[in-house]
């Protein structure tokens, strides 16, 4: 084994011996908030994503409207500059679509006649969906207008706000992690002051003195990250028991997915990096002050 490798192994195990479970727990609890929030938000986004988030409006026509009038209306819609595309769904097509849904043919048969209207599915060009919907509702021959995606868009917007809040929380807790590590390393340096002083005096390089502290910061951060992952896993498992019951009532098998391995690894690695940074700041500030005399 090379001397270089041996020195690193030595520093690693020296750091491992000084690793405090309590510090890792503190960091882990703090980091579990944004990590858990991310997992929950990711789940919600998946739900929202199942609905089209396009700016779509369904324009239902009056039942007594003649097909020729409907076609004229379609032409007018297509000429509108705010509208990207128009799709005509005739009442027959709509009935066929409905009949494809399980249990519906019996219902339709019971009705005797087609209750569905002709429909235009209009996709707007920009975000003026609500204004456009209101205007389309006033057109002659239009019975009812429905902006399908509005609530899905609201959900997406809420998720967006949640994401920004999570980023802010992550940033704040990241700073907290750096500060906690900074202080841990400072205390450790104070504890080992004599050893550091003597070591410098008899030929230890700065790198040798610093190495264990860098490892300590890195390990403490990474251990905190691992604790956070464990907390999130336990929390989601608990949450999913209730979610399963709720989802089943909607005929869904939705569950909050646990962070995928890549994300979990990223949390641990990121926490480790922040720990390293805290150690770096602390070591740079405090080790210089210790000079043998």
């Amino acid at each position: 084994m090379s001397a270089w490798l041996r020195l690193h192994r030595q520093a690693f195990f020296s750091a491992l011996r000084r690793l405090g479970a309590l510090n890792a727990l503190v960091i882990g609890v703090a980091l579990s908030l944004p990590a858990g929030g991310y997992a929950v938000l990711d789940g919600l986004r998946a739900v929202a994503g199942r609905f089209a988030l396009d700016a779509q409006v369904s324009v239902f026509l009056r039942g007594d409207l003649k097909r020729a009038d409907a076609e004229a209306l379609g032409k007018a819609l297509r000429a509108d500059r705010r509208i990207a595309s128009v799709r005509f769904v005739s009442r027959e097509e709509a009935l066929q679509e409905l009949a494809a849904v399980q249990g519906m043919p019996e219902v339709i048969a019971a009705l005797g006649q087609n209750p569905l209207p002709d429909t235009f599915v209009v996709t707007a060009k920009d975000d003026t969906l609500e204004a456009l919907a209101a205007e389309l509702g006033k057109l002659p021959g239009v019975a009812h207008v429905q902006a399908d995606a509005a609530w899905a868009r609201r959900l997406a917007a809420l998720a967006g706000i949640g994401r920004i809040a999570l980023w802010l929380l992550s940033a704040l807790l990241g700073i907290g992690l750096v500060a906690v590590t900074f202080n841990t390393i400072r205390l450790q340096i104070l504890t080992q002051r004599e050893e550091i002083e003597v070591s410098k005096l008899i030929g230890a390089t700065d790198a040798f003195i610093r190495r264990p502290f860098y490892y300590l910061g890195l390990l403490q951060g990474a251990a905190g990250g691992a604790v956070a992952i464990a907390i999130v896993a336990a929390g989601l498992a608990l949450l999913n028991r209730e979610v399963a019951v709720l989802a089943e009532s909607y005929g869904s098998s939705f569950r909050f997915a646990f962070l995928d391995p890549g994300d979990a690894l990223a949390v641990v690695a990121f926490a480790g990096m922040l720990g390293w940074l805290g150690a770096h700041l602390s070591v740079s500030r405090h080790l210089r002050q210790i000079e043998a005399s």
């Binding site: 001397a3 041996r6 005096l201 008899i202 030929g203 043998a292």
Partner: protein, 216 residues
């Protein structure tokens, strides 16, 4: 091995510890630095491993101009100089053995080789049987011998002692000096600062007498 020419050292407060010191210690020599306390003995010794830097003049150790040495090069200079301090600077949170292992840790020796060297050093100063003790359990003379073992474990070419016999009874002091002489006999250059004139005279070696910051 050690060469001072017109070395002066002023401390930040304006105190002038050394005014103009010039001397040469040849490789393989054993020399004493004597003088009353406050004469500048400690300052002189601290200039050799670059614990202090000279204000003027040059300090050459083993061909290197210590005063001009870069900060990053200092640890490597110190590894080739065994230092025994008046206050020993032992670490009391670990065993006698681990104290001697400390300098070997810096250089990344293989554990078995390091342990072998540490035991050899402890054996030379007669402390092998105490390797598991804590330094606090050792007598003053034994602690000083432990400090010597730590100083020589890296097999330095130069061994310096700053009042290594201070606070010791005559018998322990003689034993300490005998160990220094033993190392000198196997080729190590030795430099010892002491205020004990009688002890110095017994050995009949080179004496550099410091008086008011100059070699008298």
């Amino acid at each position: 091995m050690v060469s001072f020419s017109s070395v002066a050292k002023r401390y930040a407060g304006g105190q002038e510890a050394l005014k103009s010191v010039s001397f040469v210690v040849e490789p393989g020599e054993l020399a004493f630095i004597t003088g009353r306390s406050g004469a500048g003995k400690s300052t002189l010794l601290k200039l050799i491993p670059a614990i202090e830097r000279p204000s003027s003049g040059s300090v050459i150790v083993n061909g290197q101009n210590v005063g001009a040495l870069k900060r990053a090069a200092i640890p490597y200079l110190r590894r080739n100089i065994g230092m025994v301090f008046q206050d020993q600077k032992l670490l009391y949170d670990r065993s006698v053995f681990d104290n001697v292992m400390l300098p070997l840790a810096f250089s990344g020796h293989a554990p078995r080789e390091a342990a072998r060297r540490a035991r050899a050093a402890l054996d030379k100063v007669g402390l092998l049987a105490r390797e598991r003790s804590n330094p606090i359990q050792l007598s003053g003379g034994e602690q000083q011998r432990l400090a010597i073992a730590r100083a020589v474990v890296n097999r330095p070419a130069l061994l310096i002692g700053d009042e290594p016999t201070a606070n010791l009874d005559a018998e322990s002091a003689a034993r300490i000096l005998d160990i220094f002489v033993d190392f000198n006999q196997v080729g190590v250059t030795v430099l010892i600062a002491t205020h004990d004139q009688a002890l110095v005279e017994r050995y009949g070696r080179k004496v550099l007498r410091l008086e008011a910051g100059r070699i008298a």
